[in-house]
């Protein structure tokens, strides 16, 4: 039997297919539910060591819509971290003030470290370039809702595949559903070799390309990502790849698309996706961002034991 009670949500690797589907089903029920008191008296600590709009606000909104309360910070400047406190110490102290921790941090593995030192559940809201599991749940939910199924889709990941944690998490999850994957990026931003090997070990049909040309007609879903300036140690390297892709309605019409194509993007976008796409039937990224609420409500309710 699937149970999420008191579990950490650190990496999509920690969940099997049945568990992923359980959360998507619960989110679907939450989608039609208004405010409840299901988490009344519970406190969420929202610890964001890195900037965020969608993830932080949708977690806070989800918690409040379930009757819970939120404490925390949106940037570490005013905290003891600025005085040199370690993440382990901060987590152990904050554990005493709340029932669940939601953590975003620029270092990879930080959520796992926090989960190892506290007894309450920890939800990873993004750890460096590693994982962003709640984004993956909402990406899966969006694909399921807009395509009608998760099984056997062909997906093209476009943009920053090296540092794009949402790409890593989603590709790992879609491997459960027999997806065929195209990884489209400049050579310097390819998927890390060890991650590609992991997918191939799981029998995923993977292709690496530098352009959408000739590929777009095969895709059920395009998952576009921003090239993240903040992940580059060397600004010259960023300038070399900045603006290398600009997905537009004209480009897709020229290259050709499959009927029913959907374009997802974890947002924010900068210049990799043209506004001309917004009014098309295949643009689902704003809908995708809204799906953060039912998914995060489902995860909070399940982890805090408000649903069985």
């Amino acid at each position: 039997m699937v149970s999420f009670k008191q579990r950490n949500i650190i990496s999509i690797r920690h969940f099997n297919k049945e568990e992923l589907l359980y959360i998507l089903d619960l989110a679907s029920r939450m989608d039609h539910m208004d405010h409840t008191d299901m988490l009344k008296g519970k406190v969420l600590a929202s610890l964001f060591f890195e900037p965020s709009t969608r993830t932080r606000l949708s977690f806070e909104s989800a918690m409040k819509r379930l009757g819970g309360m939120v404490i925390g910070f949106a940037e570490p400047g005013g905290t003891s971290t600025a005085k040199g406190e370690s993440l382990s110490d901060s987590a152990k102290i904050i554990e005493g003030y709340c029932d669940i921790i939601v953590l975003r941090h620029y270092l990879e593995g930080s959520a796992q470290l926090a989960a190892d030192v506290v007894k309450i559940p920890v939800i990873n809201a993004g750890d460096g370039a590693n994982q962003h599991p709640t984004q993956t749940f909402l990406d899966l939910y969006t694909i399921q809702k807009t395509k009608g199924t998760l099984e056997g889709i062909t997906i093209g990941f476009l943009g920053d595949l090296k540092y794009g944690r949402t790409v890593h998490s989603l590709a790992y999850a879609l491997a459960y559903f027999g997806a065929e994957m195209y990884f489209i990026s400049p050579p310097s931003l390819r998927l890390p070799a060890d991650f590609l090997e992991t997918l191939k070990d799981r029998k995923v049909k993977c292709h690496e390309n530098e352009s959408l040309m000739g590929i777009s007609k095969r895709l059920d879903v395009i998952y576009c990502t921003r090239i993240q300036k903040e992940r580059f140690a060397d600004p010259i390297e960023f300038e070399k790849v900045r603006g290398i892709y600009r997905l537009s309605k004209t480009m897709l019409e020229e290259f050709g698309i499959k009927d029913g194509l959907k374009v997802l993007h974890p947002l924010p976008r900068v210049d990799e996706m043209d506004d001309s796409l917004d009014a098309t039937d295949f643009a689902v990224y704003f809908h995708q961002a809204r799906n953060g609420i039912p998914i995060r409500k489902a995860l909070l309710a399940a982890v805090l034991g408000a649903v069985e």
């Binding site: 993440l87 382990s88 593995g109 930080s110 370039a129």
Partner: protein
């Protein structure tokens, strides 16, 4: 009388069946330059199992589990013999553990284990060839990425 390519020791440890090319790395793990008693190192010795093998004999030292765990990552086929008065009193094959702690540095410079004095931890996802997955950042290291602490 059996001919020995590398002379016998009276008391101590013998690490045998090391893949020949890894012999000096194992010697480094065992910190032999700081040993005060006799240390014998042989490379490119004939081996039925490996073709060519390495061997290290250290007088007066019993190697500990932490050292065995480190050797396992570099030379998974090695055996360890404990010698007393020229006799083998204990012999064991090196076993790669399921989890490695505080031995290997994570190769990912952005991993939390490279900050805040966090004790490194890796899960062994493949023993031969060796592949380690960082408990924290989840990146997978192969033999070429392994840097010992």
């Amino acid at each position: 009388m059996k001919h020995l390519d590398v002379a016998a020791i009276k008391d101590g440890s013998v690490i045998d069946h090391i893949d020949s090319k890894s012999t000096l790395k194992v010697a480094e793990i065992l910190n032999i330059q700081n040993e005060e008693q006799v240390v014998l190192v042989g490379v490119n010795l004939t081996s039925k199992l490996l073709g060519k093998k390495g061997i290290i004999k250290i007088e007066g030292k019993i190697i500990d589990q932490k050292e065995v765990n480190k050797i396992a990552l570099i030379a998974p086929n090695a055996t360890v013999n404990i010698i007393e008065d020229y006799e083998v009193v204990k012999k064991f094959h090196i076993v790669v553990p399921e989890i490695i702690e505080g031995v290997v540095k994570c190769f990912n410079p952005n991993c939390i284990s490279n900050y805040n004095n966090v004790k490194t931890r890796q899960h062994v996802v493949s023993k031969n060839p060796i592949k380690l997955q960082c408990h924290f950042c989840e990146r997978i290291m192969s033999a070429k990425d392994i840097v010992l602490i």
